[in-house]
Symmetry: C2
Subunit: 373 residues, 2 copies
């Protein structure tokens, strides 16, 4: 039997993708993780007020959500001091990245990112036929000068920057980011991913400037707000750039519960404050646990700690595998230059207790397998 | 200041789209609807078991949902008697239609649909630069012979058929659909939208055939299962065709609550039985209300009744507008040949009481404005 042909761009794509969730790993390993420290989620959960709002909204779950996301955009506009038509809501930042690439990067045009940065951006860029130019990290941070230079050199359609960064946890100052923005051509769309922005100390995020057509600030309810499972992110930008998403977004795609939960979460500054405090404490504990095992925790402006394991990529990978055997889920950067590190997300006290006992065991198990470097 | 250029396909798209939700209409009208009879939702709600499962899942809302949707696919596989790798989950059928077009219709290739059929299919086809060929309805039903002929003539990339149909509520027998499937070229992907399948009497839906690479059966939890706000649909098909979605889908896009709710809903045959019974009763009542006002209800295999208003499109539109003034939300087909009709979704007893009093008033108001045809 003959079959339909894939469109040329789709035909050229990999058949499998690297998005392996902890649940898939659990199914492969045949056991549940006891510590879930790999997805940069917030184990401190959503605000009780957000959970209550979603529980209330469940009764109306038979209705399609508002396709204009009116109330949520209004709440965000008030929160950020922008107009609601300077905001677009999407199914997480992931969804918005895909739409942005589709809108602004024609096939074969260039998307500039950092080598080892957020893989979903690459997934979408490749998925729409764009050409990816990857700039190496410099001193465990995204290299702003090199990113801007690559954008200029290739007249890039898009340049991606995460600040604070994932997977390294590093950051640049607001003034450095502002200089970067000014160094990028006005015709290159800057996707400034601020998923971890709530965790960042003061002075990292530039003031919101909605006058610049080539700048989108991407935010999410998945991290500090503890709503990863609900799928709700947003972009803030100049009106006409924001309006362009109307051409391609899945208008009924943001679920009704997410809209209700996000509005409540945004209003609950008390919960957010507690999450930030607990996140900071958990990061200090992770750093101490790593140091006690002779590893080097890197400074972090996020909700995870990236740890230099001091040897090669194989050593870091072996620690990850040994931790998984001990039912501790973490992740690690995979790109050259970063791959000697592991990345550990904040966890509850019980999860970090487990990490404290498992990490030395994992290192011992790894050392037994391999000669010293 | 210069600005980034839209990619050529995006640049050619309309700046605004016709997806106006009832909430938007309420904001324009300055009052809430008292009867929400226009979105083909299920006012009988989700199963209590599904709501309970989602309430339970709220506590884990801080986790990303399983990107493989493993448990839901397994439940669906058992339910439908297929393998779980013959199923892909998406953010509603809307999301899956977009992915299918992106995968299988290259720019300028042909997508065949019916003139006035589901507009979101057209939105995606246009959105990815495809060329739409629209086949007129015949006797208020999609014209299977003409659709298959158009697919053959244009060597179409995709042909879309909804059975039962929206917006007309009409249907074809399983044997007629099977003949249609066989008449379409093997290289044309058939998107068989069965969103309303649970409402269809026996003998409408062909047996599931997962051996045919060019056939996707699209189902949803938004209609009979009462989970429209949760955004969860699925496609059943041949393995390799299903696997192709891995290349482009938003892997973390289906939210965790939807996955939990859908599994519970699928298991609750008792609730589904009550919904089908209540839906049938509500359709009978809508038909009686229409007949009492001298309008002609069309037979329906869905959860709505399409009503021939007996005059021109302007008359039908005026009834819709007059009903909105009376705080009753309905919709109507807009395409030539169908636009003399209005479409009324099932409602609660209270909503249909309101419809029973409002419809004669709306017709009177309309008649006062316009001379008889």
């Amino acid at each position: 039997m003959r079959r339909p042909s894939l469109a040329p761009i789709a035909a050229a794509l990999p058949q499998t993708v690297p998005f392996i969730g902890p649940e898939s790993l659990e199914r492969r390993l045949g056991q549940r993780f006891l510590a879930r420290l790999g997805a940069n989620e917030s184990p401190f959960g959503a605000a009780a007020s957000a959970t209550a709002a979603m529980a209330l909204a469940l009764a109306d779950g038979w209705k399609y959500g508002d396709p204009e996301n009116h109330d949520l955009r209004l709440a965000l506009a008030g929160h950020h001091g922008v107009a609601s038509d300077q905001i677009v809501i999407g199914e997480g930042i992931d969804g918005l990245l895909g739409l942005a690439v589709r809108l602004y990067a024609a096939p074969a045009q260039t998307v500039v990112t950092s080598l080892g940065a957020y893989p979903t951006l690459n997934y979408h860029a490749t998925g729409f036929g764009a050409r990816i130019v990857s700039v190496p990290y410099r001193d465990h941070a995204e290299d702003l000068l090199a990113l801007a230079a690559a954008a200029r050199r290739d007249n890039a359609a898009i340049v991606y920057l995460a600040n604070p960064d994932n997977p390294m946890g590093s950051w640049h100052s607001a003034s450095a980011v502002t200089q970067f923005i000014e160094a990028v051509p006005q015709t290159t769309l800057i996707l400034l991913d601020e998923a971890y922005g709530e965790f960042a100390p003061a002075g990292i995020m530039p003031p919101l400037d909605t006058s610049r057509p080539n700048l989108l600030r991407l935010r999410t309810f998945s991290k500090a707000h503890g709503l990863a499972g609900l799928r709700c992110g947003y972009a803030i930008g100049e009106r006409q750039t924001i309006a362009s998403f109307e051409r391609v977004r899945n208008h009924f795609g943001v679920n009704a519960l997410a809209q209700a939960g996000a509005i409540a979460a945004l209003a609950d500054a008390g919960h957010l404050g507690r999450v930030l405090r607990d996140t900071t404490a958990a990061k200090h504990r992770i750093a101490a646990i790593a140091s006690a095992s002779g590893l080097t925790p890197l400074p972090s402006a996020t909700n995870f700690v990236t740890i230099d394991c001091g040897r090669d990529a194989g050593f870091a990978q072996a620690i990850l595998v040994a931790l998984a055997d001990l039912r501790v889920f973490i992740r690690k950067p995979m790109a050259p230059g970063l791959d000697h590190c592991i990345r550990i997300s904040v966890g509850t006290a019980a999860e970090l207790d487990l990490l404290a006992s498992a990490l030395p065991q994992a290192i011992t198990a790894t050392a037994a397998l391999r000669p010293a470097g």
